[in-house]
Symmetry: D3
Subunit: 338 residues, 6 copies
């Protein structure tokens, strides 16, 4: 909710799900579940009412099946789901959005702090969409990716263990749902740590936890700070536990909480809705520029809100206050609370 | 209707209201009335059907309450009202639109007459949204504001009694619903006329009546002409009575009637609808540019229509004819009349 | 369907009609039919469901009558028909779209083949919207129009028998539903062939059959090739019969089938829907640029698809394969086929 | 409203109309008007929302045309109009309902007053549906009809000038829209008074004014009383002016106001709705019995209400009070008034 | 259509179907087809719009699956299908309706002809719902069933080969989809004719062809008449070919065509709708009485129509004329034809 | 659910509520809550979808306020709530229904057991709608009411302490929300037990626990049996705890569980819906007869189901099995489970 408020897009937010476990199910079984689920869900959806997006277990296949049933039930080809395929209403840069947005806001914040991503060592956890596209963007902007990980372990290396030209190998591993450990084949300098996370093993200037909730605890945060990490921005949903956040806020130059730094995905969902409403499809460049502009606005908003509250640089406070205030003001103005 | 036709935007027009008197009512009472009113009104509204905007007694507070109830009733977050708050679908430049648009069309018309607003003395009546933002825009373009007024009286002064840097004081008076007389505190040269209107007291090149209906009669018009007023454009709805218009049309270089010159507000309502449909919010600059372009088109339209009818420069005729023709043509083309 | 898929716009396609014969009917009778027809049809339409456009026997008058009834029935002023009048939601360049688009794709293909339209002799059949605006665009781009035709006969001439400045005479003939033969009055060098088609009589570099289905048979195609025709693009729907196509594909440098080359009309219908959704009206230049961009994309798509299939330059194959694949992929992705 | 409340049926009431004058219009013109009118009206109708019935100028033909258009627009074959044809949802006894109901309530009231209609002389004005079927029912119950009338004059006679077996002649005159004067051909004893009303010319025990509003003034009422009239019940809408009512209430044994005594027509409209809802058609006998039961309930209600208010026998007071109380109670109970 | 018009119930008629072949399909496959079919069909149904019933290949199982999906899609538990299960909105006597109705109308017609079914020999073809319940009713009324049949052959016997107490055996055979030949086990006097129909082999007073279309040709009709058959009523849809009908009309005392005599099934579908609308379920006796009343009305209607047309006893003419006139009158009255 | 299934009416069941506490709220506050609640709830209701009835805290006042808002929101005057006021769609006998139904089923069961209610001593707990109207019906049928109670205590007496003619005093106490203890004023022989329940203090033949859940435990059940109680039927929802039920089933002649014996209220809600659908209002006698018929059917159903399962007289088993089977069968038949 606060995350969505920060994007500045005309959207609200909510969460829902089902208890269907797609593991081991055939395409036909998943199709039948999706159609049955949408038959019920469709009563509550609408381009101006509620627009679900994919999430854990709901990827392109499921969004396609859900959208097909929506169309069949309603005879409406509208943007009532986001994360759609590019052939039938999806947006460019949707898969890349969270990862790119994360690095954009870090880059923007670094400029604000008179610094640059160029040449910085960046520790990343995860190897899904967020981590993969964050790493790609870091490399494009001249940074150094020092780690990646998955639920089995962590891989890291020196300055050159992974570069843009080798990045396609990571993509292929991800695409066939392989394990990050396989990348050892492509790099002689890479090292793999079974069942471990990057935080105590790598030296970095920037940490981008992008794997999962609560993946950094207090001692890992302390190790990061001790090893020179100066900037932290969350790519996953709440990857730092409260004690870790306290360590970052006192020991780093900035800490950007998930509700600001991983808003890129939701932002491009909003842009997908906008493209659907306009019956158009923007180019990669157009979407990318708008995504960058949104991350810039988010940073400006949380930064100036922190300033206004007399806590310059406290981006966690800034994000909470700015998001909450926007929601509360809109509620009051619309007469929901009096 | 004709006004809306002139904007060139895909909208029609109509008027309605209620007999609820908000004076002395608490926020809670206004809220309950707005919710009850919208419960009935909602049957007849729709983003592609009918989109009310505020007017006398229906400002931001009421639009908010009405919109909140619309959303509650329909589960639709659509642009079914204009003049919405900036946080929940409103447009930039909406409050400024009528005043800015008025000065834009004057500026455009002056260029057409090989003249400029720069250095001109401009008499303005009123101190509400229209007058306030017209005055601001006049000052920005290098003109001289020689008067303002409210229902208690008129204030005027020499070349420097009010300038952009002092304009914030007028804003504050308006914001706290004070009287224009209070501005005497901020200007030593200003003079205040109790219970009077500017027209017989000031010398001006341009008159922008922006207060209320029928605020200029024949003798006031004659006084304006005699004192050198060469250009008249209406900011209020029909401020000049028919005899005054006759005086202006024979004694001035141009007279622009309200249905062309105060179309800026409705125009930005249309732009607000467009932004809602596109799920986006344009910057102040974007809206301002579009507003300027619309006023330019209106002027071109009324000017060339007057030319086509052999009455070059008769913008009243041009506005009536162009607006009427557009509505009639569309009706015939759609088979409503045969 | 494949044609629409090639435009890249978010639309599908279908065909329908009625058995009402408008010949000899009064405006009032046509109006009553249109209103009655829309009363039934309206159940199946919607801006996001099905959006009819004009076709044979359904021009501006009928679209207007249908749209008026739609509005009356639904209280919705939405873009539920295309080809609307400019005053009530239509798009600029809609009448010109097929003709312009045809010449654009030829021009684009010529560039791809390192050639240019400049100075080329272009044989055009037909004198309706497609032929008329194709001829105009050919002349604008420096080509030479060597023929036009109607169902009574064919007119042709040398390099100068028809040029842009004389083109208004063709327009006037078309507007009053006259015959192309009348143009003889305006050109001393033009020759008229009663009951004949251009293909065996003219020497040309480029042929743009734009009159009607099956208007070129095998012997005519052979005559064209023998007389030096190197490039063929279809402006009408399937004007070349299968044997003629075979001749063109072996004897010419390129042949572009209707499903790619006359997509301009449908494309601008899509742009009209987009403008309606955005509540705006683009200028002629904006629409023209977008139309050109769409024709460019179509060419890129059919060309690269032909390349991918190892049949570089076979634009018929490219168009069929690209269109079919897009539809099939979208169906699979949405779960319609498993 | 009060009338409808008295029927005890689950209906409310309201009035509306149009300014179309059917005089001199062809069937085709009336059809087109009815279809166009229903196109707009249909938004506000519904079997559980608003159900119009015929009235002046809206008979069987118009109800048929309106119902046909309703079905075409909505695909609903529901009871959304009453007074429908017997073949497509209408009720038996609908034309007879007001006239029969009038005589039923008189008969019921007479029993309450220990009297009987048998042998009573009954003066009736009018010769439309109400008068015609009231007269028929009077004759069936053994009463004597002493007068009928139309806008040209009044016809009356002795005990035998008109009897059930001759009544078909009156029916034929009415059916071909002839004048009541023509009945002179069928009765040697009948007398005709040009441009006059029955009230001063006949001696009667019971008066049933069934022609039009305000057709009995004070002096006519006095003449009736003086000539022995003891019972008055209104068949038209408010045929007695206020002074006449005062005369009846002081000089007669009872006066039953229209809102109770002519409720039969509305009552059978309600029964028609009930039959439509049940997808059945009751026989004449079933409808007639229910109509009689409703008139009995109305009489019981107005009589006991008058008793409760200490004004036994004042059926005007009883009708007003009973109807008003029912509406007010229902409003309060539903929270409309607090 | 004419059949439905004759029932006098407030219904219209139409036919539709699908090309899904249920043979060899599992319950799950049939379920999925039914749900998918209803997903599309549901747009066009409604208790007051269109109400499908079962027919060939659509029995209780399919109606249940279709109804379940209708409820799921619309959240409406309304009578939008007939032939529903008794537990969820179906009507008593629905399976028996066509067979019972057939014998009722024969019984009624016999009374009209001063004759009785008691002791009459009745030849029946078929052994499905129609034949089975016709036979049962014949036996109940004291008639003698002389034959039954299926697509493999015909079984017949003397006066006592089949009686009410043995009828349960026929039911069991039908229920397990066995062949009528199996009944030989239960009757020593029965004879079986392979691949033959009853008409040339039995002596009967009454013939009730109840198997399938065109099951009686001219020579069979002649044999029936020659063997003493005096009364024919069709239980199947158009079982007699036109030549056979001519034979019956000249050689028998009466011939009742299917559109009158097998209307019982549709009639009880109408009663099922009525029960649904009233939220009630009538007992077997109530439905049976109403069915009998409807058959009586049908007979009265076709008989009196034949009389009116001067062709007393020509029930085919009476049925056609009465049905057609009702539909045509309703169309004219509703303005559909002018 | 099972209870509703047993009524045989075409209804399903569910439960819901809100957390608004009406205690101490003014009528205006309750009105505003009800209107706001219905604004949200109305999306899920419908005469054929979901029809709420009152329950604890939702009496006539609340149903009225909810229904008024429903009408305002939907323009539909349909039976979308039950327990409505008699003036606007409610049913006669709705308040009495549970109490009457309870005694009816006891009476029916007694007849089945060759016994009669006449002269029997009946212990009743509670003094709300259920207890009050159960007591009234017991007295009407010649039984003896030996106790009543409320949450403060229990009142009982000999054969004559309370009789029909004194029953109005109990009604008045209930109407002003007084305590049952007050009845001591009207009976010299009555005795009052503070904070106690009837079960251990009275001698009775029949026990009708009608106060609240779990109001009879094992020892109380044993006391009842020991004191001669032979018949138990539950009027409240599950008043006997499982151990008490075991005692009754072994020690009494019959035990009828709430899901069968207190179904009268829901049954009349169904009859109210039926009356609304038919646009009629049945007399007290009609509703009462139907209620009695439904209770008879319930008893037949649970009794014969128990017989079929080889447990004749086990009405708890019969009720559970019959209800469950009906729901399960309908689900299977409609394809919900396969």
């Amino acid at each position: 909710m606060l995350l969505i408020a920060l994007t500045g897009l005309p959207m609200g937010g909510g969460k829902g799900g089902s208890d269907f476990d797609p593991k081991g199910k055939s395409d036909g079984e998943v199709l039948r579940f999706c159609q049955s689920f949408m038959t019920e869900l469709s009563r509550y959806l609408g381009a101006d009412t509620d627009v679900p997006a994919g999430d854990i277990g709901v990827g392109g296949r499921e969004v396609g099946f859900l959208f097909g049933q929506w169309k069949r039930l309603t005879s409406l080809h509208t943007g009532v789901l986001t994360g759609k395929g590019l052939l039938w209403g999806g947006s460019n840069i949707r898969p890349e959005a969270t990862g790119y947005g994360l690095v954009y806001i870090v880059d923007i914040a670094l400029k604000h702090h008179k610094d640059t991503i160029k040449g910085k060592r960046v520790a990343i956890s995860g190897k899904g969409n967020v981590a993969e596209f964050a790493a790609e963007k870091v490399l494009q902007l001249g940074g150094i990716v020092v780690s990646l990980s998955d639920s089995d372990g962590m891989i890291c290396g020196g300055r050159k263990w992974i570069q843009l030209e080798q990045f396609t190998e990571v993509r292929k591993i991800e695409a066939r749902r392989g394990r990050i450990k396989e990348y050892l084949k492509f790099s002689k300098t890479a090292k793999y740590y079974e069942n471990d996370r990057p935080w105590k093993h790598v030296k970095c200037d920037i940490a981008l936890p992008s794997a999962t909730q609560n993946e950094i605890n207090k001692s890992e945060a302390e190790a990061l700070v001790k090893n020179g990490c100066k900037y932290v921005a969350e790519g996953a949903n709440m990857p730092s536990d409260p004690e870790a956040i306290a360590v970052f806020k006192s020991g780093c130059k900035f800490f950007i909480p998930a509700k600001a730094s991983n808003a890129g995905g939701v932002a491009v969902s909003g842009l997908e809705m906008s493209q659907n409403s306009q019956r158009t499809q923007w180019t990669r460049e157009e979407v990318d520029n708008k995504l960058h502009g949104i991350m810039q606005n988010i940073f400006n908003n949380i930064s100036s809100t922190a300033d206004d509250l007399g806590k310059a640089g406290d981006y966690q406070l800034g994000a909470n206050a700015a998001g909450f205030k926007k929601v509360a003001d809109a509620m009051f103005e619309q007469g929901m609370v009096l």
